[in-house]
């Protein structure tokens, strides 16, 4: 505001004047302008002409006043420079009204109070933790008042997640909502509870995590769009989904029961895999044995038949002699091995009952 600056320079005039050496009379406006011109040309020429000019005290004072005015003006002008970082956009407000949006780099605006600048991290992805907070040393702490929520089947589940968001519309982001972070946080907390409230605990804990993420993201986005917040949700990432601490033991037992079930099945399957091939092997052995038997008996029969044929042919050449020979040869072999008791037919009836039939006494030979 030009007038206020003029006010300032007017106020400043007296102290400077006093210090300059006693001339209380302020210069008239024409004089001021002339002096200003002189001073400027003098400044460019080298040493100030006002300093070694013939005007003495009065000239010096006037020179200093204009010098100060110029310096103040320049300083004010310089204060309008500002830097916009690579991931930012700057919104220039002229008397509080959105006048321009500037990209990264060095920029200048008409200094305060005419224009002000708000730098907004437009392309930066901002991160919000819900259900926990992580600290700079890497530690995290649970926030159970945020993370515990009820499922559709009235179980309690412990969920923490991360919301990542970006500024979608600078105008809306800056002018439509107060406290963007809190807006996103509130929407996220409300949305996840709504989504979890529609899902059963088993689904949440096992198969439907991705669906919960997607549904929550869509819901948060629609809430924020309802506020025309100018924010776009990039991702929802579920960090930790688990049963509450108080019942975690029982949940783990269910998991181990599920494993027990699989184990029982696998063991049974292993048993089956053991006995069935075994049985098949055994069966094949039975069949092969039978085949071997069949072959054996048939071949033996054939052999024996052939032997008989041959023998019969030879026998027919000389039946009487062959018959006798066969008989005696056989009997010789048989009787050679066996214990023999030769009893005459007439005494046989009397003796036989008394013969020692046990094996104790051998070689009893009774002859007539």
């Amino acid at each position: 505001m030009p007038w206020s600056d003029q006010n300032d320079s007017n106020k400043n005039q007296n102290p400077w004047g006093n210090r300059g050496g006693g001339d209380q009379t302020p210069p008239d406006l024409d004089e001021v302008l002339r002096r200003l011109q002189e001073r400027l040309s003098g400044m460019f020429g080298g040493s100030g002409s006002g300093g070694d000019g013939s005007g003495g005290g009065s000239g010096l004072t006037k020179g200093m006043i204009t010098g100060v005015m110029v310096a103040v003006f320049l300083l004010w002008g310089v204060s309008g420079f500002y830097v916009v970082a690579a991931d930012e956009e700057a919104v220039v407000l002229r008397f509080g009204k959105h006048a321009a949006t500037k990209g990264p780099g060095l920029n200048w605006h008409v200094p305060y109070p005419v224009e002000t600048v708000e730098n907004l991290p437009v392309t930066r992805v901002q991160r919000l933790e819900i259900g926990f907070r992580s600290f700079t040393d890497g530690a995290t702490r649970k926030r159970t008042n945020e993370s515990l929520m009820l499922t559709k089947d009235e179980n309690i589940v412990d969920i923490s997640f991360i919301v990542q968001y970006k500024i979608k519309n600078v105008e809306n982001y800056l002018f439509n909502i107060a406290n963007a972070t809190k807006t996103v946080r509130d929407a996220a907390e409300s949305a996840i509870r709504e989504v979890i409230g529609r899902t059963s605990i088993d689904d949440v804990l096992t198969t439907k995590k991705a669906e919960v993420e997607v549904e929550t993201q869509i819901l948060i986005q629609s809430i924020l769009d309802g506020y025309a917040a100018g924010i776009s949700i990039s991702t929802i990432k579920l960090q930790d989904v688990q049963p509450p601490e108080r019942v975690i033991k029982e949940f783990k037992d269910v998991a181990s029961a599920r494993e027990d079930k699989e184990r029982a099945k696998n063991e049974a399957q292993a048993y089956a895999n053991d006995i069935i091939p075994n049985a098949r092997g055994e069966g094949k052995k039975m069949v092969l044995d039978a085949e071997a038997y069949a072959n054996e008996v048939v071949e033996r029969a054939k052999g024996e038949a052939s032997r008989f044929d041959s023998l019969l042919a030879a026998y027919r050449q000389a039946p009487e002699v062959t018959r006798k020979r066969l008989y005696f040869e056989t009997m010789q072999d048989v009787l050679a091995k066996a214990d023999k008791v030769i009893v005459d037919g007439s005494v046989a009836k009397n003796v036989l009952p008394f013969l020692p039939l046990g094996g104790a006494s051998n070689k009893v030979e009774v002859t007539k």
Binding site: G226, A268, V287
Partner: protein, 290 residues
Amino acid sequence: MSPKQTILLVVLAAVGVILSMSAFVVDQRQQTLILQFGNPKGIEKEAGLHFKLPWQSIETFDSRLLESDAPPNEVITKDKKTILVDNYARWRIIDPLKVYQVARTQTGVASRMEDVVRGKVREVLGQHTLHEIVSGGEKANLRVELMQSIRDRSDKGVRELGLEIIDVRIKRADLPQENSEAVFQRMRAERNRIAKEYRSEGEEAAKEIRAEAEKKRKFVLADAYKQSEILRGHADAETTAIYAMAYEKDAEFYGFTRSLEAYRESIGEGTRLVISPDSEFFRFFEKSQK
């Protein structure tokens, strides 16, 4: 100082003072109420540089969507149970004049608004049972309906404060401590049941698999037995035919040789024979001539 200079100075100073007292800036995020000795004279919502009479003052209000996150609120449900409801609201000042009249400041009106919302939350949730609020009961999106209804009623309620309510959302509807304990108990029981179910299902499946395997084994063995018996039978038949064909050529001689063979096989060491010397073998035993 010449009179000319003095006048100029005075005029300049006066203009400066008057300008600084008359000009005011309305930020795009704000709306301004102009007051003349405490009497509202006008509202300026347009952002930019504006002027007023120097003796008028201004009161500034936010024009953005504002947050309100009151502490959790106890609600008695239809079935006379207590739940802890944590809700938030998003609201906006639409009439700075009314706000100024009822509460003077933004902070003042915010607490009035929170009272209204709290009342409406109680009113709406009080018509439903705990079960319905917590899990929606029969209706899938009852929660959404409830929030909608609270929003509509609250919005109506705060109009006289010069506000509008864009949204009311339930963040949490927690069970009181003793109910949480009951939930945990139920969760434990349920988990135990599921664990048991899994284990018996495992047993069941294992038994079935084993029985099935046994069955298969028996099938395989029975089939093999059948095959082997058939093979043996065929072989036996064939053998019998072969023997019959051979021996039929001279049945008497077969009887003779077979008997001899049988003697050879059956009478071994240790067999005690009681023989009469009358037998053919001993024909020459007692005398050389017959």
